[in-house]
């Protein structure tokens, strides 16, 4: 496999541009506004603390916004191009499809990191503006941004893979987010640990003292997340290479 770096960069930049130009940004703006509204309102409650802010951000950002945005953007990225056949330009270029897949993945990660950063900063700022307690607030925002970058890496790999593999990836993605991570993960015992969110929360426990987080070895969690990401990206690249595009 020859490595066409310019081709990789082109696919990443072009696919990122395509995602940003998409009208879905209106929905992202709506979700961002919702996060800001909830966090701003919660900050006006009596006896509010940074622990409370941290738990609110886990719920709004880590458990909801991060996986949902990753699903919306990731599952449709390559699938839409296959459906409207605009992928023809990429797959008829002298660029190994595995490299193209990596380009799509990088483009997706870049866009999601940007959106997550904007929403987290707006939500965090809304909380800090209305909250009487502000100490450690900035550190908490930075922590959540970093944690979500790690989450973007894994969720993007998962949903991009599903979108390449299946014609209707949204349903399985929703089942994963709301049934597996939302319900099965709350079942007592070790099964609850087999989720991306749990592993992110273990890493989060190491990054900040605010809030209550899942316990565990953060180094093992990072390793597990990186490993899962690598496996999913490799699997997606393999699927795209084998895929007939008619």
């Amino acid at each position: 496999m020859s490595f066409n770096f310019i081709g990789l960069r082109t696919v990443a930049a072009f696919s990122a541009r395509k995602l940003l130009m998409n009208r879905r940004w209106m929905m992202v703006a709506l979700l961002g506004a919702l996060v800001a509204l909830v966090m701003g309102y919660a900050a006006t409650e009596d006896g509010v603390t940074m622990d409370f802010a941290s738990e609110l951000m886990v719920l709004l950002l880590l458990a909801f916004l991060l996986p949902v945005l990753s699903l919306i953007y990731g599952a449709s990225m390559i699938r839409n191009e296959m459906d409207d056949r605009s992928i023809v330009q990429v797959i008829t270029a002298p660029l190994d499809r595995r490299i193209s897949y990596l380009g799509y993945y990088i483009g997706l990660v870049m866009v999601l990191c940007l959106l997550i950063t904007v929403v987290t900063v707006i939500g965090g700022a809304a909380f800090l503006i209305f909250s009487p307690v502000r100490d450690g607030g900035l550190q908490l925002i930075v922590t959540f941004i970093a944690l979500q970058y790690l989450g973007v890496m894994v969720y993007s790999a998962l949903f991009l893979f599903l979108g390449t593999l299946m014609k209707q990836p949204i349903y399985l993605g929703l089942i994963y987010i709301f049934i597996w991570e939302g319900f099965v993960a709350s079942i007592p015992g070790s099964i609850g640990k087999v989720t991306i969110r749990h592993q992110l929360q273990v890493v989060g426990s190491e990054l900040t003292d605010f809030g209550s987080w899942a316990s565990g070895d953060w180094a093992v969690s990072i390793l597990a997340l990186v490993l899962v990401t690598a496996l999913l990206v490799l699997a997606g690249a393999f699927v795209l290479r084998q895929e007939e595009v008619s």
Binding site: K18, D84, S86, V88, D96, E244, V245
Partner: protein, 308 residues
């Protein structure tokens, strides 16, 4: 290597639908037209050539190489599909720079090359406009420019004339001819209209229901069209004596006279002879003809004839 494409007994099916069926063809250098009605398998053939899909059965070589999972081969091929995939918000020049990037091209050389291909397809003036505002002809040209950008040896143009008006059609036909004559590309171009292809090349392959039914010089194809049996409708007055005369001719296989005696269907084995002798027969029988028309003087009927 004398042929740019060699296909032997190719078959490709999508579930229960057959795209190509025991399809064999040799495509020589130069311009070759692939002609067939919609759904004949032309686009399937192009997708196989570009490695978008793989064959189920058979042997395919493009520029001497197997195309499936062979991205290196794509540096020698430029593909212009029949469908529209251009991002409407992108300018023509931006699109070409994107295509150049996919081909690993960068820097000043790319700027020069983009300007060159814009000149070749006569799109320099409109290159800095968003492609959403392009006409059909302009969109075809910019697609061709994208296919040309990396200076491929072989250009694949799938139905480049579809949906274009006569003026644009002439310009694209001239462009295709120049791509070979002036710029040295080998071109495979498809269409469902024989006379459009005929204006670009004399080297033609007919494809019907997934099979290559004939290939060679256009004059041979034309001969097939004139040689195969025709159903001819004849209308006018005093047709009975004409029908009697026609029945004595060896080229006539059957005649069906309408009840009102003002029209008849004549089936002839050798249409050329029929049309040559018709003036004499009309003069001899004194009939007055209002309409003489072959119902089979088109490609579709040739295809049906050739595949039995």
């Amino acid at each position: 290597m004398s042929n740019v494409v060699e296909a032997r007994l190719l078959s490709k099916w999508y579930g229960e639908v057959i795209g190509l069926n025991n399809f064999s063809i040799d495509v020589p250098k130069g311009i070759t037209g692939i002609v067939g009605p919609n759904g004949a398998g032309k686009s399937t053939f192009f997708k196989l050539l570009t490695g978008n899909i793989k064959t189920n059965v058979g042997h395919l070589r493009v520029l001497g190489e197997e195309p499936w999972q062979n991205p290196a081969l794509l540096s020698k091929i430029g593909f212009c599909p029949d469908y529209d995939f251009l991002p409407p918000d992108l300018k023509g020049r931006e699109y070409l720079h994107f295509v150049a990037g996919l081909h690993g091209m960068d820097g000043a050389r790319t700027v020069t090359r983009v300007n060159d291909v814009l000149g070749i397809v006569s799109m320099t003036k409109d290159a800095d406009r968003a492609m959403g505002g392009y006409s059909k002809g302009m969109r075809q040209r910019i697609k061709i420019a994208g296919a040309l950008l990396h200076e491929p040896q072989l250009l694949l143009l799938d139905e480049p004339l579809t949906g274009t008006d006569p003026l644009i059609r002439k310009e694209i036909i001239d462009l295709v001819k120049d791509l070979h004559k002036v710029h040295g590309h080998d071109v495979i171009v498809s269409s469902h209209v024989l006379h459009e292809i005929e204006r670009m090349t004399h080297q033609v392959a007919l494809i019907y229901k997934g099979r290559s039914v004939a290939s060679g010089d256009i004059s041979e194809i034309r001969q097939l069209m004139s040689d195969h049996p025709h159903n001819i409708v004849v209308e006018g007055r005093g047709l009975v004596p004409l029908a009697q005369m026609l029945l004595t001719k060896s080229y006539t296989s059957s005649i069906e006279l309408r009840a009102d005696r003002l029209g008849m269907f004549v089936r002839v084995d050798r249409p050329e002879e029929f049309f040559d002798s018709l003036p004499e027969l009309v003069a001899g029988t004194g009939c007055e003809l209002e309409r003489v028309e072959s119902l089979d003087d088109d490609l579709e009927s040739v295809f049906r004839y050739l595949v039995g």
